[in-house]
Structure formats: C-alpha cells, structure tokens
Symmetry: C2
Subunit: 301 residues, 2 copies
C-alpha cells in the first residue's frame, strides 16, 4: 500500500517512471522530478501557491500562438535559454568561434534575399548604418559563400511581425557572403525594446520590478557546409540596457558601436560597424538554435 | 558588461529579480530559478531537448479548457500535487485528522443537494453500495451538521463531465450531516479509470510505460465552521491498481471495502462501507484544495 510522506513521495514517483524505455527521457524526467520536488520542499509550497503556479503556467500556454511563443519568453526571462546556450557553446567544438546568443521569438524561415551592399530596410526609416566584415574559421581562413540571416527591429523598436501583417517581411534578409567570406549590407539603427509585456510573462517581470527591456541588437544566423550553425546577435554599446538585458543575451564580445570613417568601410559617409564572425567546425553535436520559429510549435488554428 | 558562463548565469538572474517587492514571490522565484538551472546543468540539457520541453509545456497549456486542466494532471502524474498535499497535511494543525487526498480535476461547485439516505446515482446504474459514518473532531466529539460533498465515477469509470453534457450532474451531491455528525447515502460502486490519455500528459505517461490508471475511489470534501476543510478520497482495496495509483493519491488509512451485514449499517441488504472522518481545528493556515474547478482557471471561450 502506498503510504507516502513528503520525503518518500519522490522515490515513489521515480520508481513508477523506472520502466521508461528511452534511457535519456528517463534520465531527464527523473532529474526533473527530483529538482521539482526539492524546490517545493525548500519553499514549503502551499496549496494556494501551487494553484497560482498552475494558473500561471496555464496562462503562459494559452498565450502561445503561431506568432508568439510565451514559453520561450518565460525560459528567456528566467535565464534558462541563456544557460542552455552557454552549455552548448562550451561543448563539442575544438576551437573557439564567435560567441552565440539567443535566437529569440522573431526569427522566421525564408526571409527575402538581399544582395551584398543592399538594404534590409524596405519600409522602416531611421538613421542609416552599414554592417560589414568577414566570415572565417578559427584559423582565420575565409569561409566562402557562407549564408547569413539577419533580422532586427527598426528605429521604432518593433519587428515586422509586431508592426505589420504576418505576410509582410521587413528588417530581415538572407545574404550570401562572397568567395572570401566578406559581407556588407545597409540597414537602419535598431532600437531596444521591452519583451511583450501584455501577457503572463510580462506580468511576472512587472511584479519583479524589472524594466523588461532588451538592449538594441541585430540578430545573425550563419551557416556553411562543414561548420556548426552560428546563432548570435550584436548589441549596441550606447543602449542604456546593455548591462541589464532582461533575457541575459549580451556577452562583452558581442557588443558593437557604429562609427564614421572606419578603415575598409565599404560605403563612405554612413556610420558603419565591422564585425568578423568565426565559425566552429561541425563536430556533429547537434544544432544550437535556442529558439524556434513560433509557427513550428503552435500550428495555425 | 554581462559575460556569463553556465555557472554564473544563475546568480545574474537572481540579482535581476532581487528588487521584487513581494518577499514571498522573490523567495519562490529565486528557488525556482536555482532548481531549474541545477536540473538543466545536471542533465546537460541540449538545445533540441530544450525545444522539445518548450513544445511539451506549450501543448499542455493549449490542452486546458474550462472542463479540462492538463497542468494539474501534469502536476498529479509527477507527484507534485501529492507532495504539496502531504506538506499541507503535516503543518498547521495540532491534532491528527483524517488524511487528505487529491481534489482532482472533476470537482464541481454547487452539486445537487442529497437528503441523508438518498442516492447520488440518478442516471448511472450498477452494483449498489451505501456509505455511512460520523464526522467528529480529534477528541471524538461529533461535529454537528458538517457539510459533505461527494463525487465519483460510475460503474463505467466515467465522471458526469466525461459522459454527459456539462449541464448534467450525476454521481455527485452535497449532504448535510445530522446533529450528531452522522451521514449515510446510497451510490453505485465506482470503477477505476485511466487519466485522460488523449493529451500531452497521456503521451508522457505512455512513453514512460505507466498504466495510467487510478484505483476506484470516492471523493469527499467536508467543511464545518471552525474546522479545516478536509479534502480526501476513499480507495477500494479490491482494485488492481490500489498499490500503483498513477497520481499517487492513495494512503493506507483511506482504503475501504464494502461488506454485507456491517453492525450499524443503516440500510439492510446492501453492501456497505463505514468511514468516520476526523476534522482538524482551523488554525488559519489556509485552504487545502490541491486542485480546482477547471472553469476557475480557464474562462469559457
């Protein structure tokens, strides 16, 4: 007969899950149950608090749509996304490439192609900038014809998905680097922005007295055959929130600032940023997209 | 500048949550982040696994309706509900009352009134049983006119909400005990049943090679002024799953079996169960409903 107290309930659950055929699922669920129970015991979670937690998780799930992933947002503001990212960065590669950052909820497959030197700003206007540089391996050897996805907010702090009908794509594009791995494109300077504050995750962040802002940044995803896909972002040094990103995405090595008169700037008279990316060899340890196109997780109703 | 590795990301998150005005919320979220990160580090959660976790949590949230609470079900099969229950039982009362059990997802406010000696089985048929006994305090003193809610499956293993339109209530009722705390009512013997297996929690339980069954039981909720509300259930000894309840609700002291010819049985010729309930004094430590009417968590669309 089961006669469980607060101490042995954990073992009873693990025992009932012990016949899980998938060894990795068993390992993950056992650890999840141990840590979940240890949390509840540590804070002496009461029935009322448990019910509030159930209500919050339910609200997060119900806020998800094909264009909004509230559970990724929850993972982001609790630092879990950054942690998974950091662990993935630290394993499975023999040489050090560019640091990664979060994919975030606004990546979309199939962004419009942009020629080198073209612009990703079709609708939005604002102070113009140019981003240029080179994609190499860890030894400095150019990676020819790497494919680069870039996406960002405009000077209004909004992504296309937030400002327009989902059929419109703006402030995003796919570039092909040249035979020497070089790239350059025009854009407008992005503005930092709060995470979506009108849902349950925004409620939590508000109750925690957090500002809820991400510093201005440009997302970059680079892929080339034989190399690990690089998911990263470049953050503007002059943003007031560069040291307090609500989703913990900033690393010092990813901080940038536009400047006039840079050597090698491909377009004169426009404030420019040079950033050279370093790809790691693909060692088969799996993809690194901490994030996803939301439409892959919640099918359109 | 934030320059975080997998070890110091946790402190950075806790620091950003440190200005939470509600001290209890701060305590709970700090512990939640520490345990969540410790889990991810322990299993070395990969980006692909993280994404599967996000997809599962999203599916659980999207499966919730005004008549189905999939997050409570997840909490149940992971033993969290039982743990919160057990901790609540062990605190805040000076004397030992009847052990509690899970409220579960099928409790409904405002069940039909049933007179003492009446039946709660209006539509469903099956082998008849009688439940009778007395509600007392820990010293054995009768609690006069305690209010008792009972609800259960029929001989088909279904609750009314699963078998009928939500407007129909069957196999549930509200009784008022007499001046000596005595109660008796007619019913039919319930059948054990699987938890809802057609959603993401059922998928998990299936992947864990668990049978997914709860043993046959009768839910009981008793309240009386000055006493802590008692939420419990009585489990049938002859059910094959009485030792392996998928949601860990069974305690030895809550196991029953119907018998013919019991002394004091109020209705002759019907297999009867005597169960006396003991209420604890209300010490103001809050309610103990580990569960909720689902319509309170997800408003009807």
């Amino acid at each position: 007969m089961q006669d469980l107290d607060a101490n042995d309930i954990t073992d009873a659950v693990i025992e009932q899950m012990a016949q899980t055929p998938d060894a990795r699922l068993r390992e993950i669920m056992e650890a999840a149950v141990r840590h979940l129970h240890a949390f509840a015991r540590e804070v002496k979670l009461t029935p009322e608090e448990w019910l509030k937690g159930i209500a919050t998780m339910t609200a997060v799930g119900q806020a998800c749509t094909p264009y909004r992933q509230e559970f990724i947002l929850l993972s982001d503001v609790l630092g879990l996304s950054r942690l998974v990212n950091a662990m993935h960065d630290a394993t499975g590669r023999e040489e050090v490439g560019t640091e990664t950052s979060l994919l975030g909820p606004f990546f979309r497959e199939s962004a419009p192609k942009v020629a080198l030197g073209g612009t990703i700003a079709h609708i939005k206007t604002g102070p113009e900038i140019v981003l240029f540089g080179q994609v190499t391996d860890a030894a400095g050897k150019p990676v020819p014809h790497a494919q680069m996805d870039v996406w960002q907010t405009g000077a209004d702090g909004l992504y296309d998905l937030q400002a327009h009908d989902p059929s419109v794509m703006d402030m995003r594009g796919q570039l092909n680097c040249d035979a020497e791995g070089r790239y350059h494109f025009r854009s407008v300077k992005p503005l930092g922005y709060p995470i979506p504050m009108d849902g349950p995750v925004g409620d939590l962040v508000t109750r925690q007295n957090r500002h809820g802002f991400r510093p201005a940044h440009i997302h970059v995803l680079i892929s080339a055959p034989g190399y690990r896909e690089l998911v990263t972002a470049l953050y503007f040094a002059d943003d007031a929130h560069v040291d307090s990103d609500t989703v913990f995405g900033v690393s010092a090595s990813l901080v940038i600032q536009e400047q006039l008169g840079l050597p090698d700037a491909p377009i004169a008279g426009v404030p420019s940023i040079r950033y050279d990316f370093t790809l790691s060899l693909d060692t088969g340890s799996g993809g690194g997209r901490v994030g996803s196109d939301p439409s892959r997780l919640v099918p359109a109703g």
